[in-house]
């Protein structure tokens, strides 16, 4: 089971942002977050957490918090 910190690291490294900017991050607040980065985020999350995201979940992946919810759905992250 992965941790919040691991998700935070993957999210920030993929979108090339500082950890302080992650909370509340969306494609509107992150300049780099275009369709290419979106796919990079999808593939990196799948690879890191050994899951395969369903198309609906890929569509939902539109904020830092939404990503956390998606990972919770797949039961691969524990958030205290």
């Amino acid at each position: 089971m992965a941790t919040y910190e691991e998700y935070l690291k993957v999210f920030c490294e993929t979108l090339e942002i500082e950890k302080e900017s992650a909370l509340g991050a969306t494609p509107k607040t992150v300049e780099n977050w275009d369709s290419i980065k979106q796919m990079a985020l999808v593939v990196t999350l799948e690879d890191t957490f050994d899951i395969e995201l369903e198309p609906d979940d890929i569509m939902k992946l539109n904020s830092f918090e939404a990503g956390l919810e998606v990972l919770k759905k797949y039961g691969v992250i524990s958030v205290s």
């Binding site: 275009d34 369709s35 290419i36 796919m39 999808v42 593939v43 990196t44 690879d47």
Partner: protein, 326 residues
């Protein structure tokens, strides 16, 4: 560009066209100020909305007019050191604009990089108007033009990035859509005109390009189980053809096989046949691709199967020919 296991997965998921837009064109746009990119109302088709936003001064959209696209691209190439890229459907940028390719690009040696997206049978369900079994062979006929097609999304990025430094007319066919098969998982040096040996083997050597490289690699694994050592070469550049590597394998292999997502007339099979025919002695050649009949409408896979272009069919055809040669 980064080439490792994870990044190649990302490129593959994006497919050749999006990977080119998101990585290669973005890199070129960031590094160089001296080139244009022209479209025939095809910015979205080429997945380059973001490029247009980032570099609006480089973008020229001529409307749905492919013949004008090629002519205008040739003109723009004369105004800029870095030349002009032109993106739209492979079928229309070549077949519809062949005279403009010939007169404005080829004969005048203009630094235009034509990039045909959704080439081969990618757009299978849209019918013959959107298929391009002939375009590589047709463009190859023209002088001065480099003709190439990448094996996977990683190679597509490398090809477009490398193309900037080649001040010559060029046609690049992109065909792998989303979830494009991965051929390269490690970095390598890409050079136009220099084919890559992906698998050693000297009983049979399969020379493939585009998406057929992956099918050839799969077919080669099947050949292993029959005790046949099967090499695979990625002939990403159709023109100029890497005759050095062909010459090497023509000396040691018992059979050379070409596999392409296009007509066996004039394309890769035709090019290799022309080269081998000039040798005093040469190895037998089996050409696999779209044979001289029109396939029925359907998905890309469905069309490939009709032409025997799946890995299993390729292996069967090779085994059959090997049997005849014994």
């Amino acid at each position: 560009m980064k080439v490792d296991r994870l990044s190649t997965k990302i490129y593959s998921r994006l497919g050749q066209t999006s990977a080119v837009a998101g990585y290669a064109m973005k890199e070129l746009g960031t590094k160089y100020d001296d080139f244009f990119v022209a479209y025939a109302d095809s910015i979205a088709i080429a997945k380059q909305n973001n490029f247009q936003t980032l570099f609006p001064e480089k973008v020229v959209n001529v409307g749905i007019a492919e013949q004008s696209l090629v002519g205008i691209a040739a003109g723009l190439a004369g105004l800029s050191e870095g030349g002009c890229y032109a993106f739209t459907y492979a079928a229309f940028i070549t077949l519809r604009a062949m005279e403009q390719l010939r007169i404005y690009m080829s004969y005048q040696k203009r630094n235009v990089k034509l990039v045909g997206v959704f080439g081969g049978y990618t757009m299978g369900t849209l019918g013959v108007s959107h298929w391009t079994p002939e375009e590589l062979g047709m463009v190859r006929l023209l002088p001065n033009i480099i003709v190439c097609t990448p094996a996977d999304a990683t190679e597509a990025i490398k090809m477009i990035t490398a193309s900037y430094d080649v001040k010559s007319p060029m046609y690049i066919r992109l065909s792998g859509v989303e979830n494009c098969p991965i051929v390269y998982t490690e970095d390598y040096q890409f050079r136009f005109g220099k084919a890559m040996t992906l698998r050693e083997g000297d009983d049979v050597v399969v020379v493939a390009n585009g998406l057929m490289v992956n099918e050839a690699l799969q077919a080669a694994k099947i050949m292993d189980s029959h005790g046949i050592r099967c090499g695979v070469i990625n002939m990403h550049t159709l023109k100029p053809l890497d005759t050095e590597i062909l010459s090497e394998y023509a000396r040691k292999a018992r059979l050379i096989v070409t596999v392409e997502e296009g007509s066996v007339v004039g394309g890769l099979g035709g090019s290799v046949a022309e080269y081998l025919s000039g040798k005093r002695e040469h190895v037998p050649l089996l050409r696999l691709g779209a044979s001289d009949f029109q396939a029925r409408l359907g998905s890309q896979d469905f069309i490939w199967k009709q032409y025997g272009l799946s890995s299993a069919c390729i292996a069967d055809r090779i085994l059959e020919r090997m049997g005849e040669l014994q």
